[in-house]
Structure formats: C-alpha cells, structure tokens
C-alpha cells in the first residue's frame, strides 16, 4: 500500500479551512459557508483520490527489451503535479530524478548484480495537498527472460508454462501475491497505444512567468470591489503597484527587499491600521491591510512561494468580499470559480510543468464535487449554519433594544416568496406609550381578501412567529392551526407554511391607537401643526422629509435625558428606527390619525427564490390607519453602508476598469512575445529541448560529444542532429552567418521528435 502524507500546502489549507469554519460558526455568513464547503469538497476529493489509491504515475515496461542488461522503463504521468524517483538496489537507495513537466519519462538503469531492485515513486496529488509514496518491487525480475528457474516458480504458482500474454503470467502473479495491481500489461507490443499516446512536453529550465502574472490578475479582480469604493488616488496607486509587481515578475527580477524587511513592513501596516478599529470598520480595515500586503509582495522575487502567497491574499480578499454583504452573493462565488480556482490550479500545474492531459483530467474531477457542494450549500445553506439562541423582539419594546441587533448579520431564516422589493414581516404591534416604553396589544384576527401561500424557514427561535399581513392557517412543525389572535405564538426553528389573507378588518381597532401621554402631547402639538398637510398622504410626506433631513441615523445616539422621544425630537436629533417610528407615531396621533409602532423583520436580500432574514433585519416601523386599512410607513431614513470609505468613487474608473483590464491582456501578450523572441537563443533552446527529455549536457562536454551521445540514444534523429551540429559549428565558431540559421535546423529536430512520438510512440529503435 502506498504511504500518504499531508504536505505543507495541505496543512496550510487545512488550517485555513478550520479557521473559515470557525468564522462561519461565529458570523453565520452563508457566503463563507459556501466557500468553505467548496474548499472542503476539493480537499476531501484529494483525500479520497489518495485513499482510493488512484495511480498518479503508471509504470510500463516495453515488451521489446533493450540490448544489454540495462532496464528500460516508461513512466506516464496521469494525475500528479510532480514526482520524484528513487531506485533502491539492495540496501543502498539512490535518488534518480525529480521530474517536472514530463508526461512520459524513459528510464534506463542497470539492475544490480544481486538483490532486489525496487523503484520508489513519490508524487503529489493535484493541488499538492497529499504526497504519496509507492514502491514497485523486483524490477529486474520483471525484465528477466523466462528461464528454467522461472518455470519452476511458475509451476509452484500453478502455472505450467510461462506465457507473456496470459493475464496470470509471472508478473501479474507476483504483483497479485503482493496485493499490488499488475504493473505491466503484458502482450502490449506498443508501450503506449494510440488512445493513450502521451504528450511531449518540454520542460523549462527557467521558471515560467505565467503563475505570477495570473496571481496578480486574480488579486486585481478580487480587489476590484474594494478599489471602486476607495478614493481614486488609492485605487490608481494600488493598480500602479500591481503593474510594477507584474513587470518585476515578467522580467524575473530578484527580490528588492529581504524577507525580514517585508515582514517588518507588513507589521507596520498592521500597526497603522489598528487605531480607531471598531466593529463597523473592521472589514474595511482588513481589506486595506490585505491590499497593502499585496503591495509589499510586489517587491518580492515571485518564486513559487510568493505566488502561493499572492493567491492566499486574493483568497482573503474574496472572503472579505463575502463579509461585506450578508446576503448570498454570487459575485464572490463567480470570482472563485471563474478566476481564483482555475488560475490557482493552472499556476500550480505550470510551476510543476504543464501538459493538457494532466491539467484537464484532475481539474474536471475536482470541479465536479466543488460545484455540487456549493450548489447544495447555496440552496440549503440555511440548514447548515449553526443556530444560536436569539432574543430581541419582545412584547415590551424598550427604546434602544433593537440597536444591539442591528450589528448582528446572522441569518435567522428564509422566506420563500416571489420577489417584491422590500418585505416587512410583522411580529408585534404596540399600542400605548409610556416613558420610553411601548406595550403590546393583543388583537383578534378577522381576515378578508385574496389568499396567498408562502413558506417560512426559521433557524432561530423567535418570541413571536412573524407574518406578512393576516395569517389564516399555519402549518407549523408541530401541527396545523388557525390563529385566533395576534401576535402569533412564540416560534421555534422549523418550516412554517402560511395561508394568508390580504388584510384583516375590524372597525373598532383604530380607536385603540390614539393614546399619547399628556405631558408629551403639549410638547408635540406645535411641531404636529407644522407638519400636518392637506390629507394623510401629504402629512406622511412632510413627516418623512422632516425626519430624513434634520435627523441622523445612529446606532449609538447616547443616553436620553427625560423622555426618549422628546429627547430625540428636540435635543439629540440622532437615533435609530425605534426613535424614528415612535416619534412619527406620536406626532401622527397628536394630529388625530390612528397610528401604531410595529416591530418585526425587514429584508431586501432576495437570492435564489427566497428572501434571507437576518438578526440585523430587526426593525421598527409605523402603521397608520387610512380609513380602511393599516398602511405601512417607514420613517427611518436609509442608512449609509459600512463600506463607504470615502465619497470619491469615480464612475469612469468603474466603467473603465474591466475593459481596461481586458485591454492589458493583449499588451502583456505582445510584451511576452517580444521578450521570448529576443531571448530565445537557438543553442539554449536546443539544450533545453533535450534536457526536457532527460539528456543534459555536462559543462565540460563539447557540443560534438553531446550530439554523439544523443545520436546513440536517439538514432532516429541522427541526421537532424548532425545537421544541427555542423550548422552550430559554422555559426558559432566559424562565425559565418547569424544564429537564425540554427532555428530552422532546430525546428527540423522538433518535428522529427514529434513524428517519432506520434508515429511509433517511442524514440528508441
């Protein structure tokens, strides 16, 4: 059995996943849940692949044996991103090669005179979370020709004759005896039949510049929402920094600052972003910090580790984006699937050597479970989020109670309803006001009008079941019932089906809602007179304008002196929904309109066929009697978002940004084209080409000696190689003509190799 180990990347990933789950548990953010679930799916897929012992590398032995006593083996990379080989002969173990970018490797080595010769292959699964070591035993036995002693062994095994084509031949029998799968398909003349034909991949001795470029592109795309909200100079500065980093990565510059200095800079940024940190600006500060770290990273060397860091930063930005809104957002997920995931995977494969076969197969395999899990979580995220005991709405509304909930973005339920803008779910209706306290009113239910059905999924217990208008019949988890009065009974988590009428009637009702404390009535009368319009609608408009312009919304208005409503109206002029609603109700009552304060849940977040209800959606608003029905009216002015870092977001940047990025891509392509064209020395390319095939020129070896060696190993290329050598001598040492003459010859060699691979599937004749 192979041994499976968690790699460093895997460990890091696992820790990140754990941290994410903790954050999900605390914040109950459905976006994070979906993201972490997707990541977990990728991680688990990798683990399952490893546990199922899916073969990363396939070892094959050609049937036609090489001359002499050396072994010839073919290795085909199937899944892994990279692998290393060790040969163990007897007691000594020697490293053979660390291979990158090979789809197929031809190994030749001498079997030891005595003892077992085994091959140890250590390979990484895609994404590099797990490392697997697998041993192939008795390699020289595999290659030995059957002789008398073998036949004896076969007889023991119940085989009378050695038969290379028989599935129970020597080899398979040995492999089965060791509980291994058979190593070699005997009877295959061709080591690689047409449908399994390998791709020929040239490895690069210089690291590719694409992973770093892709990482920068990913960072910019994930930072895009933050950049739009930041002041123009900040956004342009960041883009400039990233462009500089991209330039450094493309020109393969060495690190500008040492790692310690970089860490110091990051620490400084962290210290500077600490003062004034609060719950409201936490995410903005974190985003700013992350962007600064990206800028520090642009000065680094862009080694594989730096590329990994950039991806981690991009991922952090993605997570921060999901913290912004608390609705299920498609954007972060889209970014994850369309940008971060493929680009990270492509980068990691590029770093190990790219080949389309090894790229697509694992990608599709990983993408499947990830998409499935995230789709499931988006649909049913609600059920996977942890539940907390929840309080807030109560039958005695004290002013200041709701503000503590306003900062709590935990989702508490889903409302399945067609989209209709802002939705108000009522829980309690309050009647009398006394010294900053509203007391609840019990109302009989008499419903009338068109009927409507909807579904409410509750995750949290609530002091009263919230409803839309006038519930006729409710299917609760504990049974069906017809409610007789409002408010509805306390609700525990579960699914509720409502049948509702459009409105309830009762002519006596409005008269219950005219009470104003006498001492307050005197103070409010002048203001009420001022605001009263021709009819109810004009009055409501006046009221709305008055409250929107002269008052500020604040979650921490301070401690009221005396009556909270008069303090709010005449002194502080700062408050939140309860203050606005209370003031509006009392003013309306002073004017003679029946009005009442209603508390419940408000939501605008419509995703995937349902509204999302959150603790922060707890709200107080007004219902005013218009003569026939209770008309909802929300006097609270809309709140400014948490994310307004400044008012400088420029529209043109917003419009220009994605197109500008797209325009950058061809420019980068042109740059790369010219760069590679200029630097490609045909001699270097020639050496690299054969290094990719495992033939490296020794420094003290002359080209002629090297070519002679190649001719021995690749007789089919003999003519082309000689041509190249003669041209090379003339051009380089005879200084006749330019090196361009060599390119043509090099191209011939390439074509010939490809013909060889496609034609017969082997280089060796």
């Amino acid at each position: 059995m192979p041994t499976i180990r968690l790699t460093k990347t895997g460990l890091l990933f696992f820790l990140i996943e754990l941290a994410l789950l903790v954050v999900v548990f605390v914040s109950r953010n459905p976006n994070l849940l979906v993201l972490s679930g997707t990541l977990a799916a990728i991680f688990l897929t990798s683990l399952i692949l490893a546990l199922l012992n899916v073969w990363l590398v396939e070892l094959r032995v050609p049937k036609r044996r090489p001359v002499g006593s050396s072994l010839l083996l073919f290795l085909e990379r199937k899944w892994g991103t990279s692998y290393a080989l060790w040969v163990k002969a007897g007691d000594s173990q020697e490293g053979l090669a660390r291979l990158k970018g090979h789809q197929r490797v031809v190994l030749r080595f001498r079997p030891p005179p005595r003892g077992m010769l085994s091959l140890l292959i250590v390979s990484k699964y895609p994404f590099g979370f797990f490392r697997v070591a697998k041993t192939f035993d008795d390699l020289h036995l595999i290659l030995k020709k059957p002789d008398s002693s073998w036949q004896a062994a076969d007889r023991v095994a119940g085989l009378t004759e050695y038969d290379g084509r028989h599935p129970w031949s020597r080899l398979d029998w040995k492999a089965l005896a060791r509980l291994q799968r058979p190593l070699v398909r005997q009877g295959e003349e061709e080591p690689f039949p047409p449908h399994r034909r390998p791709w020929l991949v040239y490895s690069q001795d210089r690291p590719s510049v694409w992973p770093a470029s892709l990482a920068y592109l990913t960072v910019v795309l994930t930072a895009y929402p933050f950049l739009l909200k930041a002041p123009l100079w900040l956004g342009l500065g960041f883009l400039g920094g990233v462009c500089y980093g991209l330039f450094r990565a493309l020109s393969r510059k060495k690190a500008l600052v040492s790692e310690n200095l970089g860490a110091l800079a990051v620490l400084l940024v962290a210290v500077f972003s600490l003062p004034g940190l609060s719950l409201t600006n936490l995410w903005a500060r974190l985003a700013g910090f992350t962007l600064s770290v990206v800028l520090v990273k642009t000065l680094s060397q862009h080694a594989p580790r730096d590329v990994l860091h950039l991806y981690l930063l991009a991922f952090l930005l993605l997570i921060l984006q999901t913290m912004e809104g608390t609705a299920l957002l498609w954007r972060p997920l889209l970014l994850f699937y369309a940008v971060l995931f493929p680009s990270f995977y492509l980068s990691s494969v590029l770093l190990e050597g790219f080949s389309p076969k090894v790229f697509w197969r694992p990608l599709l395999l990983f993408l499947g479970p990830a998409v499935l899990v995230s789709w499931g979580l988006i649909r049913y995220a609600f059920f996977f989020l942890p539940a907390w005991s929840w309080s807030g709405l109560s039958n005695l509304l004290e002013l200041g109670e709701i503000s503590s909930l306003k900062l709590d973005p935990r989702p508490i339920g889903y409302l399945f309803l067609e989209e209709r803008g802002k939705v108000y779910l009522k829980a309690f209706v309050y009647g009398d006001y006394h010294r900053g306290r509203w007391s609840i009113v019990w109302l009989p239910l008499r419903c009338q009008g068109r009927q409507e059905r909807y579904q409410l999924d509750l995750k949290e217990p609530l002091p009263a079941l919230p409803y839309l208008r006038c519930p006729l019949k409710i299917e609760a988890p504990f049974g069906k019932f017809h409610p007789q009065r409002l408010p509805l009974p306390a609700a525990r988590p579960g699914t509720y089906y409502f049948e509702e009428a459009e409105f309830s009637f009762g002519s006596e009702e409005p008269l219950l809602f005219l009470q104003v404390p006498p001492e307050l009535e005197e103070r409010l009368k002048p203001l009420a007179k001022l605001l009263k319009g021709r009819d109810l609608w004009q009055t409501l408009e006046n009221l709305q304008n008055f409250l929107a312009h002269d008052f500020t919304y604040s979650l921490s208005p301070g401690q009221p002196e005396g009556d909270p409503v008069s303090w709010f109206l005449f002194e502080s002029r700062r408050g939140f929904c309860e203050h606005f609603a209370s003031a509006a109700v009392l003013l309306l009552r002073v004017m003679g309109y029946p009005a009442r304060v209603v508390t419940g849940l408000v939501t605008e977040e419509y995703t995937g066929g349902h509204y999302l209800l959150r603790a922060s959606g707890a709200h107080a608003w007004v219902e005013v009697w218009n003569g026939q029905t209770w008309h909802p009216f929300d006097p609270t002015p809309p709140r400014r978002g948490l994310w307004s870092l400044g008012n400088f977001s420029f529209g043109f940047l917003k419009r220009f940004f994605p197109w500008g990025l797209l325009a950058l891509l061809p420019l980068a392509g042109v740059y790369l084209f010219f760069r590679y064209r200029r630097s490609a020395d045909p001699v270097e390319e020639f050496l690299r080409l054969f290094e990719g095939l495992g033939e490296k020129k020794a420094p003290s070896e002359t080209m002629a000696e090297f070519v002679r060696r190649l001719q021995e190993n690749y007789p089919a290329l003999s003519k082309e190689l000689l041509n190249f050598l003669n041209l090379y001598h003339e051009v380089v040492f005879g200084e006749k003509g330019s090196k361009d003459r060599l390119r043509i010859s090099l191209k011939d060699i390439r074509t010939r190799i490809q013909q060889q691979v496609k034609g017969s599937g082997r280089y060796h004749s």
Binding site: V683, P699, S700, T702, M703, H729, V732, F733, G734, E735
Partner: protein
C-alpha cells in the same frame, strides 16, 4: 582536408599501423611548424614514423643517435681548416636537413641538448662567426626513453617547452600487432615511400594553418584553460604563455587537418594532452597514463563554451 593531405595521412597510417591519432597529431605538429617529442619505450615505431613522414613530405631526413659523449659540433657541424686552400671551410652537421630525428635526446649532455634546442628555437645556427639559416621546413622529432633513467640528463622544463607536442606511441592493438608480425619490413617500406606532398605545398599548408580562424569563444576557452592551470593546486606551475600559443597553434593545425577553417572546442580538447603533457609538472610525481588521467581530469573541470 586537401586530397593531398588525405593521401599522405593514409600512406603514413599504412606504415605506422593502428595509430591514426598519433599520425594525425604528428602531422599536425609539422603543419603547425612545431617540433615533436616522442616519449616511449624503444621499438614502438618512433623512427619508422619519423622516416615515413620525411619521405611522404619529400624532405631530407637525418638521424642522430644521442649519447653522453656527443658534442654540439657533431650535430651542428664544424669549421675545418683546409691546408691546401689555406682557409677554413664550414662542414654543416646533420642538423642542416628538413627532418631531424634526435634519438634518445635525454642521453646527451646538457651542452649538446642546448645546442640542438637553440637551433630549434632560432631556426638558425652560428658556426665559426657565421650565421647559417636552417632549411625550411625544419622539423625535429626527438625521442625520449622514460624507463632508463640511469646516465641520462633529463631535459629541463624550459627546453621541453620548445617542443610543440609530446606524443606517446604505446603498443599497437593485438590485431594490428599480428599484422605487423606477418607483414614485416615496415621500416624498409617507410624508407621506400615516395614523396606525396611537395615542399612548396607543405609551406603553403603551414601558411594556411596560421590563418585558421580562432573565434572569441575559443580564445576565451584557451585563456580559461591557461588560467585554470595556473590556479590548479596539483600542478607545480601552470601553462606558460608559450604553452598557450602552442595550444592554439596545435588546435589550428588539427582543425586544418579536419578540413575546417575555424577551431572548435573539440580541437582544443584533442590537442590538450599532447601539448601540455611535457609542459605541466604535477606536484605528485606520476608519469605515463596516470599523468594523462590527471590532465584529463583537470580539463573536465573547465567548462566548454557553447
């Protein structure tokens, strides 16, 4: 390579069986206007080789067996008084020839050795107040016996430096030796060889060898070798500038023999051993194959330009 040269080489190979490398390098030394030192046991075909070369290139050939009582005059010649005519007449010694074979050079006294070496270096000889030019081409083949050290005067390094190459013939392969055994009389065959390359053609070839192109990469490679040899701990001293020039000329000649008008790193590698064998003194006293191995090891540490 000119067909003339090819014929000459094949002719020489017909006489000195199974040593195409040695033949090639020997001819290269001639083409590079150098001199040749053959270091090997007696009876390995040194004289036959020198004789054959002289015949093939149509030159006059003289041979002197060096002994410890040989005097400079025995080589250079003397001034003798002619009583009948009442004047001194110069009798040129055997050195006045195109090919001069100095057998067992290390047996002669230092005085005699230096007389010969001076003539090799200068290309002229002073006799009785007269300076006589040596014929052109002038090619010395000296042999040394490495085994018999008794009663010999080893050549000092400075004088060894005058030889372009030092070749070791070694025994022929078994099959070749069998052929020699059956078809005796190679010396006679060598003596009876007819001229293939005229002296004029040889001089022209020597001129062409000088013009073989040395690219800057090769110049760097040569300098790398020289400088590395000076830093190498296992050598008592490194390659002299004359040694470096010798390396260059030998490489040019080998390139010319291969029919090229430019030098490859392979040429330099090919001539490195014969050019430096007698020039570089190892800290540990080893000789023969061991020394060659040490030199080869040294060369494998110098990166080749591409």
């Amino acid at each position: 390579m000119t067909p003339l040269l090819a014929r000459a080489l094949s002719c020489l190979n017909g006489v000195l069986k199974g040593k195409p490398g040695v033949v090639r390098l020997g001819v290269a030394a001639l083409l590079a206007r150098g001199h040749l030192l053959l270091e090997d046991l007696p009876g390995t075909g040194k004289t036959t080789f020198a004789m054959a070369m002289a015949r093939v290139f149509g030159c006059s050939f003289k041979r002197v067996q060096f002994t410890n009582d040989l005097l400079p005059a025995d080589i250079l010649g003397t001034e003798i008084y002619l009583p009948a005519e009442g004047r001194f007449e110069i009798r040129p010694g055997p050195i006045f020839t195109n090919f001069f074979l100095a057998d067992e050079l290390n047996r002669a006294s230092p005085r005699t050795q230096s007389a010969l070496l001076e003539a090799m270096g200068e290309g002229r000889v002073s006799l009785g107040g007269q300076t006589l030019e040596l014929p052109c081409p002038f090619f010395v083949v000296a042999t040394q016996n490495p085994l018999e050290q008794h009663g010999t005067f080893p050549l000092p390094e400075s004088q060894l430096d005058r030889f372009l190459m030092c070749l070791r013939l070694g025994y022929p392969a078994r099959e070749e030796e069998a052929e020699i055994l059956f078809r005796d009389g190679f010396y006679e065959k060598a003596r009876d060889l007819s001229q293939i390359v005229s002296t004029k053609a040889l001089l022209k070839m020597q001129e062409e060898v000088r013009r073989v192109h040395i690219s800057s990469l090769i110049a760097d490679y040569l300098l790398d070798i020289a400088w590395a040899s000076r830093e190498e701990r296992s050598f008592v001293f490194g390659l002299s500038t004359r040694g470096l020039l010798a390396l260059k000329r030998a490489a040019q000649a080998v390139a010319y023999l291969a029919g090229r008008d430019f030098v490859l790193p392979d040429d330099v590698k090919q001539v490195f051993l014969p050019v430096t064998y007698h020039r570089l003194l190892l800290a540990e006293e080893v000789a023969g194959p061991e020394k060659e191995e040490c030199l080869r090891l040294f060369l494998s540490d110098v990166p080749v330009p591409v």
